[in-house]
């Protein structure tokens, strides 16, 4: 059964229609991929699905509940999290603090004005554990802005994971990464997949086809093709793009 669905989503900015009519459904436990050319509306689609923008029409349903138009913070509290294509970190915080502030147990104490968190080694341990998962063990004390590009990409995912989502949206996680870092990221995503439903926008097709259970192709604000990687290999749009390298 689909755990997350987008039905007839329509989104425009002024008179520029970015999402014409988007229908998507993501199965629990699967990794769903989204691909499409630059400017196709993929990130906008994520923004609508995760509460950043309200759609002009259509519905977003998570675990059977209508979550259309909820604020980002309400969406997160439902168990949905995302990482960003353009990185969105707390630059003056350490890697550890970036993760700590995103933990649900810290969020629950968000209006506690008296007690420090330090000494609560549980939160520290939990945050360290997340950093270890995304390959940042030993980097707890590094300032986010002083980290390398690849590390920041990993931290971006770590912060999203810290909210303990049941479904995780990742927007172009390999953007700007070298081959080695991309391979490490693939391992990470494969490991995450075991515990979390994942939706991933990705332009690196080798990467995406190796990981995804099903893929949707977005173009002109619509889903123009959908299927398993095997099914999509024969798709003419997919073939016309750089998939040649994959065969």
């Amino acid at each position: 059964m689909a755990v997350f669905e987008a039905q007839h989503l329509h989104k425009r900015f002024g008179d520029q229609v970015v999402l014409e009519e988007i229908n998507l459904s993501f199965e629990a436990g699967q990794l769903s991929g989204i691909m499409g050319p630059n400017g196709a509306g993929k990130t906008t689609c994520f923004n609508v699905l995760t509460g950043r923008y309200k759609p002009n029409r259509g519905k977003v349903v998570f675990e059977g509940k209508d979550i259309t138009g909820l604020s980002p913070e309400a969406v997160v509290r439902k168990g949905i999290s995302r990482s960003f294509q353009i990185m969105n970190l707390f630059d003056d915080y350490t890697a550890l603090d970036n993760v700590v502030v995103a933990l649900p147990q810290v969020r629950k104490r968000g209006f506690d004005v008296l007690h420090a968190l330090d000494g609560h080694s549980e939160t520290q341990d939990r945050a360290s554990e997340i950093l270890r998962r995304v390959g940042l063990a030993g980097r707890e004390g590094a300032n986010a802005k002083a980290m390398s590009y690849g590390e920041r990409r990993a931290l971006e995912i770590g912060v999203a994971l810290a909210t303990e989502p049941r479904i995780l949206f990742v927007d172009e996680p390999t953007a700007g990464l070298g081959t080695e870092a991309t391979a490490q990221l693939a391992d990470l995503i494969r490991e995450l997949k075991r515990s979390t439903t994942i939706v991933m926008i990705e332009h690196d097709m080798r990467f995406l086809f190796g990981l995804a259970d099903q893929i949707s192709v977005i173009h002109w604000g619509q889903v123009i093709a959908q299927g398993t990687p095997e099914e999509l290999r024969g798709n003419k749009w997919v073939q016309r793009s750089n998939l040649g390298g994959l065969a």
Partner: protein, 343 residues
């Protein structure tokens, strides 16, 4: 905006060494302020403004929310104190509570219109809000006294049930203010080192991400604005007693801008103590420079520009660099004292 370098590790401590130094200096200030050529009333003024500035820095330094209309709330606190005293109950605690409460309520209503704004729009809205209250205070002469001010506000006795002491003297008022300064400092210290403080600082760095990890930026902005208004109200109430009146000039755009300058000069972006340093610097410059020249504000402005250009972290940043430099030096030379104390 500058980098944020408040103490990296949050602390569970209620009392810290810099806090003890600040308390010791201010506790003894009336004993020696005249020997350094200044006067008791200045001490009162400084400490009231320190309270105001520390509350303001919660917004500016920690939340990254520049309010250019905060003088209005200081003024509202002063009027509220006077009104409570004249019309309700001339009891010190009641009137101070009224100043805090009224200012917080009015600030909370204003914050409803501010809490979904960001950056320059937030700043512009705070100017508008400040101007609206200034306008109201200037026209509503039956209540505020308009340009003449609200006169004859009394320094009410400090009533502890069994004992009572007068604050008619500046020293008396000073020690009341000092007691409240200690309370405010302790509370703000805890707050800035709490999960709430952590979220505020996160919001300053990246409001979007704060929302996407499950916090409501609106709620945090609203609450911190309201809180800082409450503290402004307390300072305003004290100021009404200090001046024995409430005057509108404090609500002007110029004064609202001055508090921003003061906090920036002190280094509110990098230090909890920045606002305190800034206030001392401002008032001492006013009196010392002011004794030599009528154009002291020009000189003050130039100093401000110099700091912005060369030391954007303000006085607290200069202090930090100085301490850092000395530490580095003494470590190089293997000074046993510092090595043994493990910094």
């Amino acid at each position: 905006m500058q980098a944020m370098e408040y103490d990296k590790k949050q602390t569970a401590a209620w009392i810290t060494p810099p806090m003890l130094i600040a308390f010791a200096v201010f506790a003894t200030l009336p004993l020696w302020i005249e020997t350094v050529g200044l006067y008791e009333y200045l001490a009162v003024e400084v400490l009231i403004w320190v309270i105001f500035a520390m509350g303001f820095n919660l917004l500016l330094g920690y939340g990254g929310l520049p309010s250019f209309g905060h003088g209005a709330f200081f003024g509202i606190g002063a009027y509220a104190f006077g009104l409570a005293q004249f019309n309700v109950w001339a009891n010190l605690w009641f009137c101070l509570a009224a100043a805090i409460f009224v200012t917080a309520v009015i600030g909370g209503i204003a914050a409803l219109f501010l809490s979904h704004r960001r950056g320059i729009y937030f700043a512009l809205m705070t100017i508008a809000v400040g101007q609206i209250f200034y306008f109201i205070a200037s026209k509503w002469t039956t209540v505020t006294g308009g340009e003449d001010g609200m006169l004859n506000i009394k320094r009410l006795p400090v009533d502890f049930g069994l004992v009572e002491f007068s604050i008619k003297s500046n020293v008396g008022l000073y020690y009341l203010t000092f007691g409240l300064f200690v309370v405010v400092t302790l509370l703000l210290w805890r707050l800035t080192n709490s999960p709430y403080g952590r979220v505020l600082r996160a919001m300053k760095q990246n409001e979007t991400r704060v929302a996407f990890i499950g916090y409501s930026p609106r709620l945090y902005k609203w609450s911190v604005f309201t809180l800082s208004c409450a503290i402004a109200g307390l300072a305003g109430g004290l100021f009404a007693m200090a001046q024995e009146g409430a005057y509108i000039n404090i609500m002007s755009l110029q004064w609202s801008g001055t508090i921003v300058l003061i906090v920036l000069i002190g280094g509110g972006f990098v230090s909890f103590w920045g606002p305190l340093l800034g206030v001392i610097f401002y008032f001492v410059s006013r009196d010392v420079l002011g004794a030599y020249t009528d154009t002291w504000l020009l000189w003050f402005g130039l100093i401000f520009m110099g700091l912005v250009m060369f030391k954007p972290d303000g006085l607290a940043g200069i202090w930090r660099d100085y301490i850092g430099g000395r530490k580095a030096k003494s470590e190089q030379s293997g000074n046993p004292a510092t090595v043994a104390s493990g910094r």
